[in-house]
Symmetry: C2
Subunit: 354 residues, 2 copies
């Protein structure tokens, strides 16, 4: 197996940073669009273990990445808790029912992943079989605050004011909902690990909507509960998009790596991760995904600058958020290739040399 990612996550010295891309399986690849067209909708695709495995594996060949990440969706957990949703093309997720009261909360049920999320577990098993050990498989889940946002609002939002309003107006209800989500997510990730994923990642996509105080006081205890409950199993990465204002607080979690968005200063994050209370953490990120609209020469230079700033060791090269659907596949390949060909700045030929 190409175990570069796992060696890096174990803290071993590596020859170069491992590389993968958030949303690497998806619309940028023609071979994905072909499978998706056969499957029907996005949800049909992720609920079909064979097809989900197929698109999970595609990026290994297509981009040459060092890891596969399960093709799935963070909203499968709310659905498993009893809150079904639809994915409306070009519009986004829509939950016909939402959580606004204790009565709503009481209609949710505990999640048995083997029953309620069997299609994901099956997809992991098919994927691992078809991967034939080529690269590690990353599992994932949405973080409690991000799932809370969707379960309260029922759809995407710019400011998540209904969810934030509930935090202030109904602290007990909010906390109970976050507790229920955390419990379901813990069970779900344990089941993914049982099924064989090698690494897990928590996506807190809407972390940036909260002040540091509110995140630390109301959300971080649930993150702590969740990450602590998974400690000692497989390496775990926490990616809180827009959350660099409380990265120092996230660094207190017993996780292995912190994901960085492209707004986060790299050298600052490196110092912070090196000095994390439980020992140094890896950093994962953080090229501005829009850089991949540029030509391959610029992609290469910006990727090399990223590694200059993050360092080779304890770094997982990635984007600062998911690949945008209209990024040419060639440009994704240029990013991955640039990581593989990285040499330190002092050893590089510069454009001004003769």
């Amino acid at each position: 197996m190409n175990d570069l990612l796992l060696r890096a996550l174990r803290g071993e010295e590596v020859e170069r940073p491992p590389v993968w891309m958030m949303r690497q399986a998806g619309r940028t690849l023609p071979e994905y669009r072909a499978v998706r067209a056969e499957a029907g909708g996005f949800k049909d695709l992720l609920m079909n273990p064979n097809r989900a495995a197929e698109v999970t594996i595609q990026p290994i060949e297509a981009y040459g990445v060092d890891a596969a990440i399960l093709f799935s969706d963070i909203l499968v957990v709310p659905e498993a808790m009893g809150l079904p949703y639809n994915l409306v093309e070009k519009v986004g997720p829509r939950f016909p029912e939402t959580i606004r009261s204790l009565a709503d909360l009481n209609r949710l049920h505990e999640v048995d992943p083997g029953r309620d999320l069997k299609y994901v577990i099956d997809a992991i098993e098919v994927t691992l079989k078809e991967l034939q050990g080529r690269v590690p498989l990353i599992g994932f889940a949405g973080a409690p605050w991000t799932l809370f946002c969707y379960m309260v609002e029922g759809k995407g939002s710019k400011d998540w004011t209904l969810a934030r309003r509930m935090l202030w107006e109904e602290p007990a209800l909010s906390d109970a909902l976050l507790t229920a989500i955390t419990k379901a997510t813990k069970a779900y990730l344990h089941a993914q690990i049982e099924a064989g994923v090698h690494v897990v990642q928590l996506f807190d996509s809407w972390a940036g909507s909260l002040s540091r105080e509110l995140y630390v006081q109301r959300i971080l205890p649930h993150m702590q509960d969740l990450v602590e409950g998974l400690r000692g199993r497989v390496p775990l990465t926490v990616f809180a998009k827009g959350g660099s204002h409380f990265l120092k607080d996230l660094a207190t979690l017993p996780c292995t790596a912190l994901g960085l968005d492209w707004q986060t200063n790299r050298q600052w994050a490196r110092r912070l991760a090196d000095e994390a209370p439980g020992g140094p953490k890896l950093l994962q990120g953080n090229l501005d995904p829009s850089t991949l609209y540029a030509n391959p020469g610029i992609i290469r230079a910006e990727t090399h600058r990223m590694i200059d700033e993050l360092g080779i060791q304890r770094t997982i090269a990635n984007l600062g958020h998911g690949l945008y659907p209209d990024i040419p596949a060639d440009h994704g390949r240029a990013f991955v290739q640039a990581v593989k060909e990285y040499t330190p700045a002092t050893e590089r030929e510069t454009t001004t040399s003769v």
Copy 2:
């Protein structure tokens, strides 16, 4: 006149921070909803000088704020340049045409504010007459990057990928569009100042979508041009939402104050503003607007903590973004009142004292 805001902006020592709220004129106030219902749509309202003046003035009585801000919209500038838009209820702005090519750009025209934005100038004149000098009037415009986003995409976006793609793919076209926007905005703000506004603010609502490097290299020169071109007239505040990762760069602009969102660390921003290259700057902000969903006791405590952290001097008390439409007017009043009643932490009775 209550000239507290102007004294603070001149750098004079003040008895307490002046206070106003972004989006203080609007849906939170029943008296606004009445005027809006009479006017028709949002655009009918802002294009009617008498009605625009009326809703501009409402918050002075309703909230007791120390300044009025003109009721208008940042998108009037693209429209004046030749790109009309509609405001669709519960959906947002929609531009039937967008700028994607040099041919599109060439169809825009130079802005003569006295002709193309006469309704805004008229609204300022009516407002000043009806204000009768009670409080200063703040004028404003969208910053070049934020207007660029709308003119390229034609509507709101989560990631502004079309606009960011253009920055990478068509640097010359992007720069030409930013230059045209900057020129129009400069003329527009000069006209607002001629008409009598006492302070101006630039809103860079989508600053947070860019990496520091991209903002500094591609956007900041236009900000510099714009702010430099207005220097020496009235105090100017730059508010770059989500832009705390380049606040240090914004502090190099020859502006009077920097607006802060609620994700920005206050003590850090204070040090940075105190050490700004051109001399100390004021800070404006930055209570998390969702705090106003809480009860007045919490609003009061959080507002006092904000002033503890920002300091009394060189601070303009405000929210970290606009008032949300569903915030009770009473809670807006509690915020303003808390600023007016502020006493330093050392002099406050704490809840643990007997």
